[in-house]
Amino acid sequence: MNASERPDHSPPLGSETRVVAFEIKHTQIIDHHGAPLGPLPEFAKDPAELIKLYRAMVLTRLFDNKAIALQRTGKMGTYASSNGQEGVAVGMGSAMQPCDVFAPVYREYGTQFMRGVAMHEILLYWGGDERGMNYAQQRQDFPISVPIASQIPHAVGAAFAMKLRKEPRVSVGVLGDGASSKGDFYESLNIAGAWQLPVVIVIVNNQWAISLPRHEQSFAATLAQKGIAAGVPCEQVDGNDVIAMRYIMERALERARNGGGPTLIEALTYRMSDHTTADDASRYRPPAELEGQRQFDPIMRLKNYLTHNADWDDAKEQALQAECSAEIESEVKLYLDTPPMPPESMFDHLYETLPAIYKEQRDEVMQLGATGGGEDHV
């Protein structure tokens, strides 16, 4: 960076008072009844394109229902639902290119499916099987990241790789409103700014971090403004408006792809579900709040728009639902039919080559077999 690009606007010592000013913009394109608030972005003028987005959201929602059912019937472990947040996920997924890299948390199924991650892979993961994160497609994408915010440095590191190799690719990192309180996020956003890396970071503000409401998470008026701390362009978008989400996301991706550096986006949405299947939101969340949020559902919103502007009707809806359900069923079958991993495989991805000293342990596991030596575990 040469002197003229220096971001340090500190006045030279001894000068007079001066002011740096910032503002945060919020973008929404169709209102929650599905009515456009102004001109549409190009892509949204093509009904077929919007139906693709709609289908991706519906598929994600139906997948979600199914996954919860699998958990409830003992066929899967704890699962984190993305119900209500499909607009954000599909907006991101539709804006990204296959060559980009995605670093998700655990509620971005919509994005992952659009990128080619298979449903049965996600099910395998929540089913307690590491193979679920061995995506057959998008092999550069990151696995689901449970330690909150720890994936943001990964996304920024991936962006570094792209910049070093001068590739026209962008890395996308996602985190929650809760995660936006964590040091990993600030530190790596700051470096993304300092090094002007091609990364887009999206805060999915679903208003809750398990039981902590957004307003107790931070005294900041918006979460978007956290970008100011890093000198990174930042803005807020209505994440339940999939058109706005995709639009803002595309703009940020383009800037990054063209060497314009990072962007921080706060996508406003709402977690309609419990935190996970292990959670009971009724302990901490007023039922009225949830009910009040239903009117902002991203799927209903786009459906309303399509009904009024693209001849969407019940028949089409039913066909779509049937098609999605069938796709899901076949993926569920793939999941349920996956033969178990041999126990000794727990050693097979520890190092590229298993050091000799651990062979004995691997042999023991193999020999003890499926029961681990006994049926007596809790």
């Binding site: 449970v146 964590k182 727990m346 050693f347 596991v365 030596g373 006994g374 809790v378």
Partner: protein
Amino acid sequence: MSEITMVEAINLALARALEEDQNVVVFGEDVGANGGVFRVTAGLQKRFGGERVLDAPLAETAIAGMAVGMATQGIRPIIEIQFMGFIYSAVDQIINHASRMRNRTRSRLTCPMVLRTPHGGGIHAPEHHCESTESMFAHMPGLRVVIPSSPQRAYGLLLAAIRDPDPVIFLEPSRLYRLMKEEVIDNGEALPLDVCFQLRDGKDVTLVTWGAMIHETMQAADQLASEGISAEVIDVATLKPLDMETILTSVAKTGRCVIVHEAARTCAIGSEIAAQLAERGLMSLFAPVQRVTGYDTIMPLFRLEKQYIPSTARIMAAVKKTQEVS
């Protein structure tokens, strides 16, 4: 008095501590209205108010660091890290500050804080929710590391940890949270923080363990008894400082020792116990010490956790090995 679970016993100890000392403060993620993801802190915020039982924003470094700051100023913070897999962001504050504040200031400032977190696997939880990395803390001077193995011991050890003038890492075996019930008398009596518990008398072999592995170890002892092998069972519980005297005394009697832990084998507390037995108890050992441990691999996702966590059968097999030589 009825029997209660470990979750309830810990809740009872927390309530008593909050009751008896105005300086006790409980905070962490989701410990308030939600009562903690395991319901350990259920009802505490309601009873003691939002000023003393607080939901923290999602920031483990700051949670630990603030506890250090509070503790130096006369507060007795009890922090909850939601799962042990998320303790690592707090490690810098634990090692560089909590464990050293007394030493760095020649006891001018001290750090009477308790860090509670669920420990170990076996509950079919997601990735990073099943850690048993107590050994890294047991290596660090200035810390205490405690793992209870029953409701009653959880109650007494936690009270001791809260009243202790130095920082305590209090690891709660999540597999035991609701596994068994026990009568717990809420009399405010603390248990000592530097003596092992002898859970069972025996003469043929000493089984040394802690936390959730007490379960399989006691089962093994039962089965061994039916085969005519009498096993003494020691619950180390207070892992740092380590009470080797109790272990050495037992091994001097039995001449054989099997150490059982869920953590990976290498460079763990089991290594230390085995090393000290070799150094100080060599002459009383009739057979090499056996270690039955988690494997030196990443704790697998839950489909294979059963194969990772030591089973009763593995413990029995190790005991039998000690009986072969004599």
